[in-house]
Every structure is written in C-alpha cells, then in structure tokens.
C-alpha cells in the first residue's frame, strides 16, 4: 500500500482512536521503540506506526499486529520526551482495528482478549476453568486435548492450592447482580461510541 501523505488517515485516527490526537506530537526519537520489552516482536515500532499514520498508510497500520503486542508495561509512556500516552494509543489503535474488522485474524493477543471478555461479561466474574478450557480448545478438539494434557501438572497444582475449582464447570460463581453488570457494560459502550462519534458497533 503506497503512502499518500495526506492528513485523512491522521484525522480518522484522531477522531476514532483513544488519545489519537497525540499521534501528531511524536518527534521520531524512537525511545518508545527501544524501551518496549516486547520490541523485537513488533513489525513496526510505535514511533514508526505514528509516522505511517501521518503518511496515510491506513491499511498497513490497521491490519498490523504490532499494536496487539503491547503488554501495558508503560515504559514508553514514562520515557517519551513528548509525553505521548503511547500505551493508550496502541490499545486504541488495536480497538479501532478490531471494530473495523481489520485486526489480524488469529492474532493470539486478540484471541485471548476476546475469550477473556466473553468469559467475564457473562457473569461479571472470571471463570478460570472455562477460560482455560476455551483457550485450549480454540483451535479444535484434538489440539485442545493436547494442550490440556500438556498443562495437566499446572492444573493439578492450581487445584491443590485451591486456585482452581473443577465444580466451576457447572455454571460457576457469579456476581450478585448479573443483569446490572450487563446494563452497566451496555451503557459504557454507548458512552464510548458516542464519544468516538460512532453509532452502534
């Protein structure tokens, strides 16, 4: 995808991505890129992504798996000489790409995030057992069994330490007002979408 060097994409990012208005403030020093503990796994460093946004490389940015690598360690924010909230921008970009359906398929961070979300919104509590199993079996039954066998020792250990309860398979624990939680989440989404100028998801 060739760069256009028009501001369209930058403006789109500013309008739709959390803290996107900071992208233009980067001065390309690269301290974020060097500070990231997962840096070597990034195809494009944050500072380079900012440059790509300014260059108008919409598809390349939004389909990139780079921002999905962020583990929120905040090293980049602490060190950025221009005080860009880089971590937030990365998550914002990922979220925007996800909303647009451009996020890379099968990207593990995204998968785990989705499973975690689906898991927690159901009851308002994380069901560790179901979450783990969902992870193991996400690539099919056969692979799931293999994964579960491989993690057997840890699972037993967790059970012994009372950190994992097999009874959780049967519905599991929940918060007091499940309906209330659902309402709260719906409301939060509505507010966020309104803030980003979107109408629904």
């Amino acid at each position: 995808m060739t760069a256009t060097y028009k501001n369209d994409f930058l403006k789109e990012v500013e309008a739709n991505v959390e803290d996107g208005q900071w992208v233009k403030m980067c001065m390309q020093c690269g301290v974020c890129a060097g500070s990231c503990p997962l840096g070597p796994h990034w195809q494009h460093s944050p500072q380079k992504i900012f440059m790509m946004i300014r260059a108008g490389k919409r598809e390349e940015v939004l389909t990139s798996d780079s921002m999905w690598m962020c583990t929120s360690c905040y090293n980049c924010i602490v060190r950025c000489p221009r005080k860009l909230p880089i971590t937030h921008i990365m998550h914002g970009l990922a979220n925007y790409a996800h909303r647009l359906g451009l996020a890379p398929k099968g990207q593990p961070t995204r998968e785990i995030a989705k499973l975690f979300w689906d898991n927690i919104v159901k009851t308002g509590r994380v069901n560790e057992l179901k979450f783990s199993l969902a992870m193991y079996f996400k690539d099919g039954f056969g692979q799931g069994v293999k994964n579960a066998m491989a993690m057997q020792g840890i699972g037993l250990g967790l059970m012994k330490a009372k950190r994992l309860n097999p009874m959780e398979m049967l519905g599991g624990h929940t918060c007091k007002d499940k309906g209330g939680i659902h309402k709260m989440i719906a409301k939060a989404r509505e507010i966020e979408d309104r803030r980003k100028g979107l109408s629904g998801h």
């Binding site: 001065m27 390309q28 020093c29 690269g30 301290v31 890129a33 060097g34 500070s35 840096g39 070597p40 494009h44 460093s45 500072q47 380079k48 602490v78 060190r79 000489p81 221009r82 005080k83």
Partner: protein, 428 residues
C-alpha cells in the same frame, strides 16, 4: 570588608563567567563604573573548564587570558569573588542590592606562592574537575584562576590542618577568623549573567549515570581530555583506568524532554561532534565514536564542522534516542539499547565509555530571584519588568560561547542606557 563605592551610575554584573566578564568589560571600556560579582573563588566560569571550543578547536583559556588582562588593566571595573546577590530592592535606575561575601580565609596579601597548599594534607573534591579528582584543602582553583589567590576550604577551618596552612604562609595571608559578610550597595542597573549548570544526569534513570561507572557526562569528558584534568588529558575510563577508545555520545540527555528540560540546549550537538575529535586526537584511527541523536543541530557555518566529522571514518551516527543503558558486568562496558529509527533497526551495542550530552539548566533554577525578574518556562531570564535588569549569556537562553558573548555585549548596552537615563535626569 569595606563596601565598594557604587552609585546609581554603577552597573552590577552578577556572574563572572565569560558572559559576565564580557558584559562588565564592554561597559567598563566605555568608561562606565562596573562591579562584577562572582559566587565562586575565581572568574572564568564554565568555559574555563572546557578543553577546547568548537568549531575552531582552540582553547577557552586563550580568550580568558585576554579578558583577564583587560580586567587587570581597567580602573573602572572592580571584581568581588565568593560573592552572591541575596536581595534586590528598588527599581530601574536605583536598586539597593544586598551582597553576601563568603570567607575565603585568604586575604589580599596572598602571592599564590603555594606554601599553604604544601603544608596541608587534607583533601577535598576538586570542583574544577567536577569532582573527578581531589585537591588539597588549601588550593588555587586552577592555574588560570583570577584573582590569583589561594582558598582555604571551610572544612579545615578550626582544625589543626587550618592552623598548618596559616603557619606556612610567609606573608600573613591566611586569616582563619574571616566571617561571612553582608554588604548593601546602590546600583543603577543589573546584568544577570548567572550562566548555566549541567543537568543532573542522575535524574535520567534509564541511563544509569549513578550506577554505571563508565557512563559520564559531557562536562566530565572535557576534563578527561584536558591536560589540566584528572587524567592529565588521557581518555581513560573511570571504572578501571583502561583506555576509552570506543565512545558513545548520547544527545539530548535531559534536553528536549518534557520529563526533564523542555528546551533544546543548543550546544550539545556541537559539543559531541567536537568531542569525537578528542577521541580521534587520542587514538587516531583506532578510536571510534558513535553519536546517538534525534536531530543534529549544527547551525550556520558549524555545518562545516558536522560535515567534516561526518566524513571521519571513526565516527558514526545513529538516529535514535537511546532507551536504556545496561552494564556488562564482566568488563564494565555500558551496553546501549534502542532502535535506529531510520528504517527501524534494533541495537544492543557495547562501548568502552558513554558520554551523556547533558543539557544546560539555568544556574538560577531553584534560586530565589527578585520578584520583578521575568523567566520563561525553563527559568531562563528574560529581564525585569521595570527594564533595569537584564539576562545575559546562558542565563538568558541556552547559548554557545560566541552567542553568549553577543548576548552579554547587548545586555551591557541596555544597562548603559539605564545609567545614561539616570545621568541625563540628574543633569536636567
């Protein structure tokens, strides 16, 4: 001490570095009465602690010799060292200034014969070498010090060491009973040439200045290169005294960084480019310098210097703000981690020595100045609201020596304008 005679026709210059000396001399050579006060025991300021200047690679003490000669020969200019301004009241054309004079414990009799220094065995950190070495507690601040007079460090006053210094002096110059004095004077205009200080590198935690022996600052590197410095001019690294042949220079160490100094300190790019040539001077083709930078700011004909360094095969450039420095514990080498942003290349590079090109912070940061003084967001002095006090040199903006002297020359004329107005009002 008797208070110097000063009137509303007197210009007070605060700070005896090159800007203050210049502001004072320019006015005094026009026939104006000038009082130059300096906080430390000698004139010269930070330029006296530099080995060479960019871009000519000449020595700062050369110009200092001329300025000192001008000062020695000028009847209109009086200097007071170990003196600070503690309060200013009044307004343009008529200020009352309170000066605090710290005891030097050595009076005007001193001939700088050095006997006291020989007699004393106690040592203190040598401020001239930014504490990289020690000096006897009775000392001449440096070989070009003016006044050429020893100082007894306060730490040995009241000890047998102090008495040894006193006993050794053949001309009764050591006076251990000197006390701090406060003096009030009247002046017409004030030039604040209070200069700068290197930004505290300890604050830049990822660079490990406080933890890694072979991470030093650019001002310290000047002392290493200087034959009058702690290593006699040899580029030896602090951890083990081994030759520092592979040297990294990290630009914007504190500058252009909203976590530290939001301004660009202007001089650091040229200073590092210059210092790469110290490495070449010391080791020839066996030396190696790497400059890690955001933008190389080699303005006007300084560009020539940059172009020449660029061509130097021993120097390489990486467009990157270094993220962090670790230490290779086996050999003490600092290891630089970061990303070369020109095309996104990750590096982890080992060097013998790392020089942090630390930024310029106004020396008055944290100091209570007269309320009328206007400063910018980085504490550089713009002047006073009443138009009778002026910032000059690096106190007014991060400037190289040449521009600082320009600024000081201009400030000197602004002060003369105030004095002139006084004189014409009185004549009328």
């Amino acid at each position: 001490m008797t208070a110097p005679i000063a009137t509303n026709q007197t210009i007070l210059v605060v700070g005896g570095g090159i800007s203050g000396m210049t502001a004072a001399l320019e006015a005094a050579e026009c026939g104006k009465q000038v009082l130059l006060v300096e906080k430390t025991p000698t004139l010269g300021g930070r330029t006296a602690q530099l080995y060479r200047y960019f871009p000519k690679m000449c020595h700062p003490t050369c110009g200092m010799e001329i300025n000192l000669k001008r000062i020695r020969g000028n009847p209109n200019l009086r200097t007071m060292t170990m003196t600070q301004v503690v309060a200013v009241s009044g307004s343009r054309g008529d200020y009352k200034v309170t000066l605090k004079v710290s005891p030097r414990y050595v009076n005007e009799n001193c001939t700088a014969c050095g006997k006291c220094g020989e007699a004393v065995s106690a040592e203190v950190a040598d401020a001239y070498n930014y504490g990289l070495s020690k000096v006897r507690a009775a000392y001449l601040p440096h070989v070009m010090a003016y006044p050429q007079r020893y100082v007894i460090d306060a730490s040995i006053v009241g000890t047998p060491e102090g008495e040894k210094a006193k006993a050794a002096c053949p001309v009764n110059a050591v006076d251990l009973d000197m006390k701090e004095e406060t003096i009030e004077i009247n002046v017409g205009a004030v030039v604040w040439a209070t200069g700068w200080r290197p930004f505290d590198a300890n604050k830049i935690q990822p660079y490990g200045y406080d933890r890694i022996a072979n991470v030093i600052t650019s001002v310290e590197f000047e002392r290493l290169a200087d034959p009058h410095g702690p290593t006699g001019g040899k580029l030896l690294r602090p951890s083990d005294g081994n030759p520092a042949k592979n040297v990294a220079f990290i630009q914007c160490a504190g500058s252009r960084d909203e976590n530290y100094l939001r301004h660009c300190s202007r001089i650091c790019c040229m200073a590092s480019l210059k210092q790469t040539q110290y490495v070449r001077e010391a080791w020839g083709d066996a030396g190696k310098s790497t400059i890690y930078y955001i933008d190389i700011r080699a303005i006007d004909r300084f560009e020539d210097f940059y172009a020449n360094v660029w061509k130097d095969s021993t120097v390489s450039f990486v467009k990157s703000k270094v993220a962090r420095i670790a230490e290779n514990e086996a050999n003490g080498n600092p290891v630089l981690h970061g990303v070369d942003t020109e095309g996104y290349h990750r590096y982890a590079t080992e060097h013998d020595l790392v020089v942090l090109a630390v930024g310029m912070e106004p020396e008055v940061t944290g100091v209570k100045l007269p309320a009328d003084i206007v400063m910018d967001s980085s504490n550089f002095i713009e002047g006073s609201k009443d138009g009778g006090m002026f910032g000059a040199g690096a106190a007014s903006s991060p400037l190289d020596v040449n521009r600082a002297v320009q600024s000081a020359t201009a400030a000197s004329l602004k002060a003369i304008q105030v004095i002139h107005k006084n004189a014409s009002t009185e004549a009328a």
